[in-house]
């Protein structure tokens, strides 16, 4: 928990539609970060929320789904307008092994795309399972293809790739392939499913979690899950830690600190 540098303002250089509901915003500045680390994004006058760094380095960027007021406002901001950023925060993925399986569901590919590229660059053989509700929502597909990884598409509605969930495809790959490590980001029930597979196949795993965040720096306790703090101990956790989390897939905390069930 080193003392951070506080909020910095960055101008938007461009906004790119990735899917009908997901956009990428690129910013005029650089941010070096491990894959899986996040920033707190301040949309002035509206909200501040955590977002994975989907494009690290120069002209860094985040890839966000429009789900509420804050993200909607971000989506209508124009190049030249500025937002506040603090971070990078948290612990990202550590790249290990020669044979790697990466599983991304929903917006999960935002956190995993830099991971895919770096894993391929490290010389590993990389299988990527990319899943979405439907074909048009498959996130950063082209970027994955270009990376040199082997892409396996799943859609809930069968509009592309195999019909079904990412966990189904991951099960098949884990049964036939030999993997040193599995990396995941996506809905919590997907993480729970993959953790089960990790347990049965013995393939270790690292997964990124999401919790409501206020401070982002390990002080307010709002992102707590069984005493771990997603903002500083995570968002990426190893399967050892994940297996011990009694709240995983069950409850999360609301902004007031009350416990609510995970859908």
């Amino acid at each position: 928990m080193p003392i951070g540098s506080g909020i910095r303002a960055f101008a938007i250089t461009e906004q790119v539609d990735e899917t009908p509901t997901i956009r990428t915003v690129r910013l005029d500045g650089s941010m070096h970060a491990q894959p899986g680390q996040f920033v707190m994004v301040w949309v002035p006058g509206k909200d501040e929320f955590p977002m994975s760094i989907s494009y690290p380095g120069e002209r860094f960027g985040i890839t966000y789904k429009v789900v509420g007021e804050g993200t909607r406002h971000l989506s209508i901001m124009k190049p030249g307008e500025r937002i506040g950023i603090r971070g990078p925060y948290g612990k990202g993925y550590s790249i290990e092994g020669r044979n790697i399986l990466i599983v991304a569901g929903g917006t999960g590919m935002a956190a995993l795309a830099p991971m895919v590229e770096q894993a391929v660059a490290s010389g590993a053989s990389v299988d990527v399972v990319l899943g979405a509700r439907t074909q048009s929502e498959l996130l950063l597909r082209k970027r994955c293809e270009r990376s040199g990884a082997t892409l396996h598409i799943t859609t809930d509605d069968g509009s592309d790739g195999s019909k079904g969930f990412t966990t189904d495809k991951a099960r098949v790959l884990l049964e036939v392939g030999v993997y040193d490590m599995m990396y995941a980001c996506g809905p919590e029930r997907m993480i729970v499913g993959l953790l089960q597979l990790s347990r049965t196949t013995g393939v270790p795993m690292q997964a990124s979690l999401e919790r409501y965040m206020k401070c982002g720096i390990g002080i307010c306790d709002s992102c707590a899950i069984d005493g771990k703090h997603v903002c500083v101990d995570g968002p990426v956790f190893s399967h050892e830690v994940l297996s011990k989390l009694s709240e995983l897939g069950r409850t999360r905390m609301s902004p007031s600190g009350g416990r609510i069930p995970i859908d």
Binding site: G4, P44, G84, I219, A224, G227, S254, G257, G258
Partner: protein, 302 residues
């Protein structure tokens, strides 16, 4: 009491450090972890009668020598929170329940429910500088402080600590009022009312605009407050504000504090800061021939 042990209003602590209210105490589990990391006691989050989301984000600003926060007293309401308090007891150290409210009656009621969860004491947050109608807004006049302490004393059996605001021309008169109202101890200080502005965006960073400054930046103010209070009141004092090292804790103790709380240091140094501070105090005592923390209390007044 020998070594690091202290007794505060009858509460025995294995060492003089406590987790401050509002830091890693939304969940019982986090409080247990902080206790395991070495804290001598844990204070809970400040809790009210009803659930409250607190202020929208951004609610924290990182500075070079501290934090500004405007959490805005988020909490799930006392009834839901009692479960966390109960869990916190597993830490094996005293749990002190922090409560807030908008009136004497409300605070007394929350304190009563808090006490029902078996806390060692209740701490009254009369000092949050960024929540309308709560905290410092009702804790800035001696008269009100006295009445609130009186009302709470009448409703609970456990010791009552009044946490005071430094945003006043005389924290001593607030402390005296708390004592007159029957408080068993005072806690000083809560955060200093503060603001940060982002020049590029031309606006205050916090959604609430105003927040409270904590950490290194405020220590010299907190030590001064404790020193002033010690000259006037006889109830024990708990020192808070910018404690990160054993030297900082010793400043408070020598100014007159029986124990210290730490909040912002958990951010800058992690929960290991509790055992680091205690180790440092122990070494200092050995090197300087002190046999108890009590012996050092207030010696800067000689």
């Amino acid at each position: 009491m020998t070594g690091l042990e202290v007794d505060i209003a009858g509460i025995r602590m294995r060492n003089p450090t406590m987790l401050a209210s509002g830091i890693l105490n939304e969940t019982g589990r986090s409080m247990v972890d902080v206790a395991k990391a070495g804290a001598g006691a844990v204070v809970t989050k400040s809790v009210g009668l009803e659930p409250r989301e607190g202020h929208p984000n951004p609610c924290i600003v990182e500075l070079k020598c501290g934090l500004i926060n405007a959490m805005g007293l988020p909490n799930p309401g006392i009834d839901a929170y009692l479960e966390e308090v109960a869990f916190a007891q597993n830490g094996g150290v005293p749990v002190i329940g922090s409560v807030f409210g908008g009136s004497e009656e409300e605070i007394a009621e929350v304190a009563k429910r808090m006490a029902s969860a078996g806390v060692a004491a209740v701490e009254l947050n009369l000092s949050c500088p960024h929540a309308e109608g709560l905290g410092a807004e009702i804790g800035s006049t001696p008269d009100r402080v006295k009445r609130i302490c009186g009302a709470v004393k009448a409703s609970v059996e456990v010791p009552v600590f009044a946490k005071l605001t430094p945003n006043t021309s005389s924290i001593v008169s607030l402390a005296s009022a708390a004592e007159e109202g029957g408080a068993d101890g005072v806690v000083a200080i809560n955060t200093l009312r503060a603001m940060a502005i982002c020049p590029e965006l031309g606006r205050p960073i916090l959604s609430n605009r105003f927040g409270g400054l904590s950490g290194e930046a405020v220590r010299a103010v907190g030590v001064r407050c404790v020193y002033e209070i010690f000259d006037t009141v006889t109830v024990p004092i708990i020192g808070v504000g910018g404690v990160t090292t054993s030297k900082d804790a010793l400043e408070y103790i020598m100014a007159g504090a029986t124990a210290v709380q730490m909040g912002t240091a958990v951010w800058s140094d992690g929960p290991g800061v509790f055992s680091d501070v205690c180790d440092g105090i122990g070494k200092f005592m050995n090197a300087n021939g002190y046999e108890s923390v009590e012996e050092m209390k207030g010696i800067a007044h000689r």
